[in-house]
Symmetry: C2
């Protein structure tokens, strides 16, 4: 029983909370990261996209046009699935990505995090099994945990999940779904190869196990060749999640779920019980921003700038780290993943790193089963070259002195 | 097992859904109301505030100022509990209402509907008992239903819940909480009297049963005397919900939960798993609208206009209805409640009413136990005088011909 609960019971005698509330533990990752935003600390820890690229003036213009063009409609309650304009924006963009889909397949959500929670509602009961990659996205673990599930993690290598292990675990555990981040994964930056995608779809069909492909970064590729998406390959057996958080702004909170019409009927009802519908106004603002032609050039800009920062961080890692540290070289997204010598514990090292003026997220929080604590995640998109150089230098020094 | 599920299983063999998904029934109220928005139908059915009062130009101005003043901060991820400006707006407004509360007690939500869902997460397990008024708000029944609860409804009269019945049911069922809409209730328009509020707080303390007071309309009082709020009277034993949906615009999706610091710690963690945080941008826009001094005059305008429409609807009811139909005369809010002769079934009557050009919500959907189907809800805030006259006339005719 957590501390918070005991304190409450001293205040309000007799209140009884849900099993989930009673099982809440204090958030270790929050405790650990609370000093990372101190002045002077170069923070590679956050999951934030680069605010210096937010298209402020164009968003302002879109707000004005939305009020002038759509008036009260933009401020009223709206349909649970999404506004007409937003559904049409999403389907037309997915079509450009070879995903042939109609508006009846789409649910607009308050960012991709809400999409995860809603899919939990649709698929999960206590003790249901969820397959995840090793490691996997921390926010998904948090969202699905609420439903009292058991996580089973699937072995991975540089090409992503290993099909033999997926098959063994689908057979043994009969999971409700397999959750993957197929492109430039959070936390590792890895992308699942085409061959593995095809195999995953085959296994999904064979075992009746849906694939949930969380795809917040898929369009932020700055090098290498596009890999056909799981939804393009797998169609009805893949549920794809998307968001404008990394393409425009996370504060506008617009994401979506792309499934099939009959699955969407259930998703829509769950969404309605959660919060009726997604923010009408910011759906209109993003649609307007896109229909004014600002979206595609803005994505090009993001790709260019993030690509430069990623290249520079890799250059610095090569310059300051020895052979005993290795890292991924992602072709897109926001993150890369470091492997330290086995003797170094990244969680224990963090306070020293913060003292030395650099922060990261210890890798262990991204594991649903046995954690590898000699790993860590770095966000390369959100710092100047000067800070990347200085931050990597500090990190290298802290690691060297711990070794 | 619902129709939707069977169809899915024909498409994607082997997918297994949550117990909740399997138990979804098609939404009867949606089916029933789907013709109510046809051209020519005067719709008293919706729960919508009047869009003709939305402060379009002032919202536009607020958007511009938010971007100019706060820049990237207004488009970035923000804290789970809420933005500093929004928390401060909420606490200062609550203080004006004699609720002395700090920012650590507040959770900003995507409208009051999400507040209901989050409180479900905090308090409810399968088979938990929830006490409700008779009748009660439909959206709360939907939100809490997800948690597999048992609803027990408490007897009411014109002064609201009847304390003796509350006490009996708190004793017998040990409910996780009692849910009330204390001011200008949806659907009846009734307000709980001061004496009953004091008694409810006393019982809440005696039986350790939290009071959830859903208060979307409390500030929209156009006649009669202010009644001190349950939160003012009950302090730590009352959780109050509020929203800007009825005060400014529902499409901006900003509501809140006011509890106590230690309860808020749990609420915040639940919110984080749902969707990380509420829309940053529209939190800023509403704060800016308020700090520019637009909020209080706007609420005065709403009260004035809604008051006129309510008076006019009551005048029309008196003019067109016979003695066998009675109604509530709410001192605020959006809704009033009609009682028809016992022989008339309001659900069966609705298709005829829609054919005659008027729509309402049958009362039975607002009952958590035995429904009274000779009742119905009318929204008086959202129609012109001409439409109120014509709509009431049509309704009276349909009812007379059914009697």
């Amino acid at each position: 029983m957590g501390g918070a609960i005991q304190e409450i019971e001293n205040i309000v005698k007799g209140w009884r909370f849900s099993r989930n509330a009673l099982e809440l533990k204090s958030s270790i990752i929050r405790e650990i990261l609370k000093d990372s935003s101190k002045p002077g600390v170069i923070n590679f820890g956050g999951g934030l996209p680069a605010p210096d690229l937010f298209p402020l003036e164009k968003i302002k213009e879109a707000c004005i046009n939305v009020i002038d063009k759509y008036g009260t409609q933009a401020l009223q309650y709206s349909l649970t699935s999404g506004t007409k304009q937003m559904l049409s924006l999403i389907t037309s963009r997915l079509k450009q990505q070879d995903i042939d889909i109609s508006a009846e397949c789409i649910q607009v959500t308050a960012g991709a995090q809400q999409a995860l929670d809603i899919l939990g509602r649709v698929f999960l009961d206590p003790k249901s099994v969820v397959l995840t990659e090793t490691p996997t996205y921390l926010g998904a673990l948090q969202a699905f945990s609420f439903y009292g599930v058991k996580f089973i993690s699937v072995k991975t290598d540089d090409e992503g999940i290993i099909p033999e292990d997926v098959e063994n675990k689908m057979k043994e555990y009969k999971p409700r779904f397999i959750y993957v981040v197929s492109n430039f994964q959070n936390p590792t930056g890895r992308t699942i190869s085409l061959k593995r995608r095809e195999k995953l779809v085959e296994l999904s069909r064979k075992y009746g196990c849906p694939v949930i492909d969380d795809n917040p970064y898929g369009e932020v590729r700055f090098t290498g060749k596009h890999v056909p998406s799981l939804k393009t390959i797998g169609k009805e057996c893949v549920i794809q999640l998307g968001t404008f958080s990394k393409l425009i702004s996370p504060g506008l909170r617009i994401g979506w779920i792309a499934s099939e019409p009959n699955v969407q009927k259930i998703i829509e009802r769950m969404k309605q019980a959660c919060d009726l519908h997604t923010n009408t106004f910011t759906q209109f603002v993003i649609s307007e921003f896109a229909s004014a032609g600002h979206l595609e050039p803005h994505i090009e800009l993001i790709k260019k700038v993030y690509g430069i920062r990623r290249n520079f961080m890799i250059k610095m890692l090569k310059e300051y780290f020895g052979d005993d540290v290795s890292w991924t070289e992602p072709e897109g997204g926001l993150f890369l993943w470091l492997k330290l010598p086995k003797t170094i514990n990244a969680t224990e090292l963090l306070p020293k790193a913060i003292k030395a003026g650099v922060a990261y997220v210890p890798g262990k929080f991204f594991f649903s089963e046995k954690p590898d604590d000699s790993t860590l995640r770095l966000n390369f998109c959100n710092a100047t070259e000067e800070n990347i150089r200085e931050g990597v230098k500090r990190l290298a020094k802290v690691i060297a002195s711990a070794n």
